[in-house]
């Protein structure tokens, strides 16, 4: 054996050992300590429990009463639904700022058609849902065909819809919606909680299944994280993004249906105030359960976390502006936390 061959053989042996060593060493890198991982996933649930205990310290009679929660769960259901609609385009990388307006329009359309025009409640609901889908389609057209940023398009369409609401309602509330809607939404209860809440639970499960256990869910995720990667992997990016915007419009309209059913009436402006809570819950929800991803169970928990806080502050006799502080602050804090999860890389 010549010296060169000998050296080559020895180098090859060393390389093989190095690789084996690398193989043994590497797995722990990146594989996280299970405790930290659990903390991240279920931190918000723990925070929720602590919040209840903390507020209960001051108002035990109200904060520890099942009735308080039953009422709150029912009255917050449509925010859950609205948030679930919102996280679909957020996952594909588009913002939908028109969801609250779509919800308000759907709510008003049902009251208008049912009370003023004498349309049966069933067809009125279908028209409202179809309108939501149509708004999503219009958003998708401007975002995808013209290539405008979704933030701009939906800001504009949302404001446009607000005008339409004032127009058809003549700027006044419409009351007296059919009991056929009010009954299955709020009057019927299961475990003491109005049905609206259970509809929200069902939708949460559906969206959770869709995101987590279907090929479509993976495609949504890839479109949002790497459009070019998704396109080159054969995903029809335009169709996925359009579908996400249409879904958010339709689900926002569904939130409007629940909202009308809960109150038996519609007014031109109150639903518009749900835009920020929905965004706050969507981003806060993305820090929990499946951290780093917009996800349905996270959004569900986040809505009730925020609503519990608002409810407690009300019990403490705080003035109503505290709501704004809580939701607005919640949104920024939630995004700040999710940025820490992303190691403060700039958002795109």
């Amino acid at each position: 054996m010549t010296p060169v061959e000998d050296y080559e053989r020895r180098i090859a042996a060393l390389e093989a050992r190095l690789r084996a060593f690398e193989g043994r060493l590497s797995p722990p890198r990146g594989a996280r300590a299970p405790v930290a991982d659990l903390g991240e996933r279920y931190g918000l649930l723990v925070a929720w429990a602590l919040l209840i205990l903390f507020l209960g310290w001051f108002r035990p009679d109200q904060m520890f009463a099942w009735n308080s929660y039953a009422a709150m769960f029912g009255s917050t259901a449509m925010i859950v639904v609205l948030t679930l609609g919102l996280i679909i385009p957020l996952t594909t990388g588009d913002f939908d700022l028109s969801v609250a307006s779509t919800m308000a329009l759907a709510s008003m359309l049902i009251a208008f058609l049912n009370v003023r025009q004498g349309v049966d409640i069933g067809p009125a609901i279908l028209i409202a849902l179809a309108t939501g889908a149509a708004i999503g389609a219009v958003n998708a057209f401007f975002v995808l065909w013209f290539g405008i940023h979704s933030l701009i398009v939906t800001l504009g369409t949302g404001y446009f819809i607000n005008g339409v609401i004032l127009w058809i309602s003549k700027s006044a509330p419409i009351a007296g919606v059919s009991m056929d809607l009010v009954r299955p939404v709020i009057l019927t209860r299961f475990l003491g909680i109005p049905m609206a809440f259970w509809y929200a639970v069902i939708l949460t499960a559906v969206i959770w299944y869709l995101f987590q256990f279907t090929a479509l869910g993976r495609r949504l995720l890839f479109v949002g994280r790497g459009r070019e990667v998704a396109r080159l992997s054969g995903v029809n990016v335009v169709r996925v993004r359009a579908g996400a915007l249409i879904a958010s419009g339709t689900i926002a309209a569904l939130a409007g249906v629940l909202y009308t059913g809960m109150r038996g009436a519609a007014d031109p402006s109150s639903a518009l105030a749900f835009l920020l809570p929905a965004f706050a819950a969507a981003f806060l929800g993305s820090t929990t359960i499946y951290p780093g991803r917009f996800n349905a169970p996270g959004a569900f928990v986040a809505v009730f976390f925020l609503s519990t806080g608002i409810m407690g502050l009300n019990f403490l006799g705080m003035p109503s502006f505290v709501q704004n502080l809580f939701y607005g602050g919640g949104l920024v804090v939630a995004v700040a936390i999710s940025q820490l999860l992303r190691k403060r890389r700039p958002m795109d």
Binding site: E15, R19, E22, G23, S26, P27, R29, G30, A31, Y209, Q212, F213, T214, A215, G217, R218, R219, L221, F222, R225, G226, E228, V229, R231, L232, S233, G234, V235, N236, G292, R342
Partner: protein
């Protein structure tokens, strides 16, 4: 002769990356008013030298860089070197497309000095006067994004020269880093006219290029690097084309035989006819079943666009693909249609176009086969990850943990995972762009072995690359492109690293 100090004088410049010497005691002298070529193939140390001058890399101790006789502190202070008389125009020109020509020209002055009133009329007039001095026809009020690529390059060069004059007392040394590959021939002539105008005003230009013919046309002298070492500085007029190529490539080329493999016999598996797209075409080529075909050329030759055009990743204008008895129009093909026909494409941009760094390896690998992994009740993460782990084992992905984000893997292991992503669909035609760029030696061997196995399994593989060693080792056949067309084919004994390099550097002449 009372010769003043040369414009730029470099001696003893070395740069070490790990155990490899990228530059080994290189010396370079640029005279005043001279156009000096800098030539070398990939890995010659050419771009390392430019990066040291620009202050991106610190050289090893012992080097000296002098500008007009003044010693430049090392490492080169990137921001201050302009004051000493050295400026760069890179291939990315550093212009802001949405601003006007004047705003771009005066960007440095406007951005760094506070002025509460900008007299635009006077600024435009001043810009027009500058262009007139260099004999350029540029409208100061035009938006830069609407200028042709040539005009943009000219503007960037004028800006660099003007900045040099304004900031240093010297005529200045301008480094043009590969300015021409994407310019049409007429544009190159304009660029050369401008270079001559600059040197007429006393400036010196370092012209970095792959293109031997252009270097021979514009430069007074040229320095050639190979494998980090100075091969020599020659007087351009006294040096023929072949003498240049020989110095760039190394040995004289006759009599070398490659260990290349014979093209597998059999029917053609895929044939492309008349493919044309931006800067490419018409290109026709045929791949046999089980063949690995390499595509190469200099920057701007279009070799790297061919795989993307066949897959529909970029729009093609014309062309047909015959694959497995079907004829597919390439001007209308899109990625879903290509996938359905059994074509896969792995782009070079690993975490921008090939995979998503923030998502787990398992998800990245599983994306094309989600339908296959689907059970009656849906898709389970555990299944996706088990599947990815199995593929990762076969390709030797380390660590083989599918739950890790793709960005946590080293370049080589991420690339193995992404190759596994496409091999699992058992493609008829596999298109790869620089499959082992930024990949360590061990992973490179693993990737080559995997591609070999895939070819033996019957896939036709098309690789676009400028890694000549890889092409010589891996391919049955290599096509060399120049100006968007195939100009040479290397097979059998002609398929060696040196022969490929030679064909590339000769290619501009072949295409003319």
């Amino acid at each position: 002769m009372t010769d003043p100090a040369p414009a730029l004088e470099i001696t003893g410049l070395s740069k070490r990356f790990g155990s490899a010497l990228a530059l080994d005691g290189v010396a370079l002298t640029v005279r005043r008013g001279e156009v000096h070529g800098l030539l070398g193939s990939n890995g010659s140390g050419k771009s390392t030298l430019i990066k040291v001058l620009a202050g991106f890399h610190a050289p090893e101790p012992g080097a000296s860089v002098r500008l007009y006789g003044r010693a430049v502190p090392l490492p080169v202070p990137g921001a201050e070197v302009r004051e000493m008389g050295l400026a760069f125009v890179h291939q990315h020109l550093g212009l802001i497309p949405s601003l006007s020509v004047t705003e771009n020209l005066r960007l440095g002055a406007l951005a760094t000095r506070d002025r509460w009133h900008i007299a635009w009329r006077a600024e435009h007039a001043r810009a027009a006067a500058v262009f007139a001095r260099y004999g350029l026809d540029l409208d100061p009020r035009a938006e830069v994004g609407r200028l042709s690529p040539v005009q943009q390059a000219l503007l960037a060069i004028v800006r660099a020269v003007e900045d040099l004059r304004a900031h240093s007392g010297e005529p200045g040394v301008l480094v043009l880093d590969e300015p021409t590959p994407f310019l049409p021939r007429a544009g190159v002539d304009q660029l050369f006219a401008l270079i001559r105008a600059c040197t007429a005003e006393g400036a010196s230009v370092i012209f970095v290029s792959h293109d031997v013919d252009e270097v021979r046309e514009i430069t007074d002298r040229a320095t050639i690097l190979r494998d980090g070492r100075l091969i020599g500085t020659v007087v351009t007029k006294a040096t023929g084309h072949d003498a240049f190529v020989e110095r760039i490539v190394g040995r004289s080329l006759e009599g070398h035989t490659g260990a290349a493999r014979a093209v597998p016999p059999g029917d053609p598996a895929a044939s492309v006819e008349g493919l044309a797209g931006a800067g490419v075409g018409p290109v026709s080529l045929t791949l046999a079943k089980g063949e690995i075909l390499g595509l190469t050329g200099l920057i701007g030759s279009g070799y790297d666009a061919v795989p993307a055009l066949i897959y529909g990743a970029r729009p093609a204008q014309a062309g047909r693909l015959r694959l497995g008895g079907r004829s597919i129009r390439l001007d209308t093909i899109d990625p879903p249609a290509a996938l359905a026909a059994g074509i896969v494409y792995l782009p070079a941009d690993r975490l921008g176009a090939a995979g998503v760094g923030s998502l787990p390896v398992g998800e990245n690998v599983g994306l094309p086969v989600l339908a296959r992994l689907h059970r009656a009740f849906g898709l389970f993460e555990a299944d996706i990850h088990a599947h990815a782990a199995q593929l990762g084992e076969r390709l030797g992905v380390r660590p083989n943990v599918p739950a890790l984000p793709l960005s946590a893997l080293s370049g080589g292991n991420a690339q193995k995972a992404l190759i596994a992503k496409w091999l699992q669909v058992e493609p008829r035609l596999m298109l790869l762009d620089e499959p082992t760029q930024g990949v360590d030696v061990g992973a490179r061997a693993d990737i080559w072995a995997a591609l070999d196995r895939a070819a033996q399994g019957g896939a036709a593989i098309l690789i676009g690359s400028t890694d000549y060693e890889q092409l010589a080792h891996l391919c049955h056949r290599v096509l060399v492109l120049a100006r968007g067309r195939v100009v040479a084919e290397l097979t059998g004994a002609r398929l060696t690293k040196d022969a490929i390099a030679e064909a590339c550097f000769r290619s501009t002449t072949l295409a003319a």
